[in-house]
């Protein structure tokens, strides 16, 4: 059978056999199976995404001075726990959000990447502050990376130097919007 397929693919004319594969071999089963798969897949994926977007646990890594405003965001006035974001979580194995809080120096960059690699999927990155986005005020410093795009895939950029806690919360809400529209893995 496999040989038939190969041969028929080599021939020029388009035959029915070209379009047959394991999925549409039995057309009815294939189609109805797809419907069933979609019927289960979509609500399940939405449920998973819903769980993920309301439960973003940030990893406890402070890279520079924006950590002050990150702390303020989890304080009583700005309370990010309203959105299900717990501050100062212990181990990175249970976290799913890296908030890069400011400048990444050349000494910190490998460690940051290591932290990101050690986290379980799915994981999201928020670049907080001008330094994390472009290098900011330290664009010409000898020890500072010009933004973290080179080492981490960033989901949301939160500008400011430092961003106010409201801005960080808005960044988190944008991330939630993004997760809502993501394809669940």
């Amino acid at each position: 059978m496999v040989d038939d397929l190969v041969i028929s693919k080599q021939s020029k004319g388009l035959t029915i056999i070209d379009q047959v594969n394991s999925h549409n071999a039995n057309v009815f089963i294939g189609k109805l199976g797809d419907i069933l798969f979609k019927a289960v897949d979509k609500p399940l994926g939405m449920a998973l995404n819903w769980g993920r977007l309301w439960s973003l646990w940030p990893v406890h890594i402070e890279t520079a001075c924006c950590s002050v405003e990150f702390g303020a965001a989890s304080g009583p006035r700005y309370d990010v726990e309203r959105f299900g974001i717990i501050e100062a979580f212990g181990s990175l194995r249970q976290c799913d959000l890296v908030v890069v809080q400011g400048t990444i120096t050349r000494k910190m960059a490998p460690r940051l990447r290591l932290v990101y690699d050690q986290m379980p999927e799915p994981k999201y990155v928020i670049a907080m502050g001008a330094c994390a986005i472009t290098g900011g005020l330290y664009f010409d410093s000898y020890n500072v990376l010009p933004g973290i795009d080179g080492i981490l895939p960033v989901d949301v950029y939160v500008p400011g130097c430092p961003p106010r806690p409201e801005t960080l919360i808005q960044g988190c809400m944008l991330l939630q919007e993004k997760i809502k529209r993501m394809k669940p893995r």
């Binding site: 406890h60 402070e62 304080g75 009583p76 400048t103 330290y138 000898y142």
Partner: protein
């Protein structure tokens, strides 16, 4: 690391000795990703529950402030010199402005001096509240994280009204302050400060009188008076060890001579005393703010006009102030250029860091966060 061990090491810096490593010794990397480290790494060697070797490894936020200051003129240096301690930005700009004023021969208006004192004291409260919050969470006291974080916003609101920014004020400029305060500020300030002081007193109930806290921090990490002097520690660490040294009293700058306050000194030199001194300092800050609001001239200019790109003479200055952590000095070498030839920021965090190996070695692992953060240490500032 060379192998010679100095005779002085035994008494003064045991952390720098080379310990014999055997199977009992376990090396722990505390940081940079660690809930109890901040922005630095502490390489600990532990034997059972005891720390036998401490090697602080700062530099994770070293951004080359001093090098960059050589490329920016005296005015454009202001915003990025406050970045090392953004929650104490007025106090880190204070010695810079004093030094540049001395270089350029400027006389600051009287009202600006009072405004500077008010802003600096408010900012000291902001810094200490943040420090206290982290101290609370380091000791596992989550309420003590949240309460100071919330009360800190009171002072931040005031500074926001004064300067227009939440944490990075850039309020101090050579020759005065950037802008005048809004009308009605005095009343709001007095009201908020009174409430703030009321809240501060509640910390005693939940934190400072807590028996578990006392049993945990008393008699841990004792820094004797001699060691504190020898190691050149500063600020709350020094005053907790019984040395009465506050730059605001000893070398009064601006109008601190005319204001009514006192310095807090404790004799114990342990973590508890070190954690208590900043809290007591906040009461004094409230006193200073009230006094300054009373004595401040009600009107007048707040700033001296400067020429663009002012140039200093061929000289050097060293000015220091008492910041939230201790004496913060700036050594500016000028060679007639619009930018400093060399700007050295002598930060209190870096000076207190020297005491860390001395204090941590020999302690239990459980005391590590309590001793480490009681050093009134902000890693970003130490790295510059």
């Amino acid at each position: 690391m060379s192998n010679q061990v100095h005779p002085k090491d035994k008494e003064i810096l045991p952390g720098l000795q080379i310990e014999k490593v055997d199977d009992r010794i376990m090396t722990l990397n505390v940081g940079p990703q660690h809930p109890g480290s901040g922005h630095m790494r502490i390489i600990l060697k532990i034997d059972g529950d005891y720390i036998v070797h401490t090697d602080p490894d700062p530099g994770y936020v070293h951004r080359g402030e001093e090098k960059m200051a050589e490329y920016r003129n005296y005015i454009t240096n202001i915003p990025h010199l406050e970045r090392p301690v953004i929650h104490d930005s007025c106090n880190i700009l204070y010695p810079y402005c004093l030094g540049v004023e001395e270089l350029l021969g400027l006389e600051v208006p009287e009202r600006a001096k009072y405004l500077r004192v008010i802003a600096a004291e408010l900012n000291r409260c902001v810094y200490i509240e943040y420090w206290l919050a982290i101290y609370g969470i380091f000791l596992g006291h989550s309420t003590m994280f949240m309460w100071p974080m919330g009360d800190r916003e009171l002072c931040i609101d005031l500074l926001d009204k004064m300067t227009g920014a939440r944490v990075t004020h850039a309020y101090f400029v050579p020759g005065g302050v950037r802008n005048d305060i809004p009308p009605n500020f005095e009343d709001v300030c007095l009201r908020q400060i009174n409430y703030f002081e009321k809240r501060l007193k509640e910390y005693a109930d939940i934190f400072y009188d807590n028996p578990i806290l006392i049993s945990r921090t008393k008699d841990t990490g004792i820094l004797s008076r001699e060691d504190a002097i020898k190691l050149g520690t500063t600020g709350s660490v020094l005053r907790a060890s019984g040395v009465d040294f506050d730059i605001r009293k000893k070398e009064p700058y601006d109008v601190y001579e005319e204001l009514d306050f006192q310095t807090n000194v404790l004799k114990e030199g342990d973590s508890y005393a070190r954690s208590k001194i900043p809290w007591l300092d906040m009461f004094e800050s409230c006193r200073i703010i009230r006094d300054a609001l009373k004595k401040m001239p009600k009107s007048g200019s707040v700033r001296v006009k400067l020429k663009p790109k002012p140039k200093g003479g061929d000289t050097e200055v060293y000015r220091r102030v008492e910041s939230g952590r201790g004496s913060l000095g700036m050594h500016i070498v000028s060679r007639g250029l619009p930018q400093p030839y060399r700007l050295k920021i002598s930060v209190p965090s870096f000076r207190n860091l020297i005491a860390m190996p001395h204090l941590l070695t020999g302690e239990k692992l459980g005391n590590m966060p309590a001793v480490y953060w009681s050093l009134n240490y902000w890693p970003v500032e130490a790295d510059r």
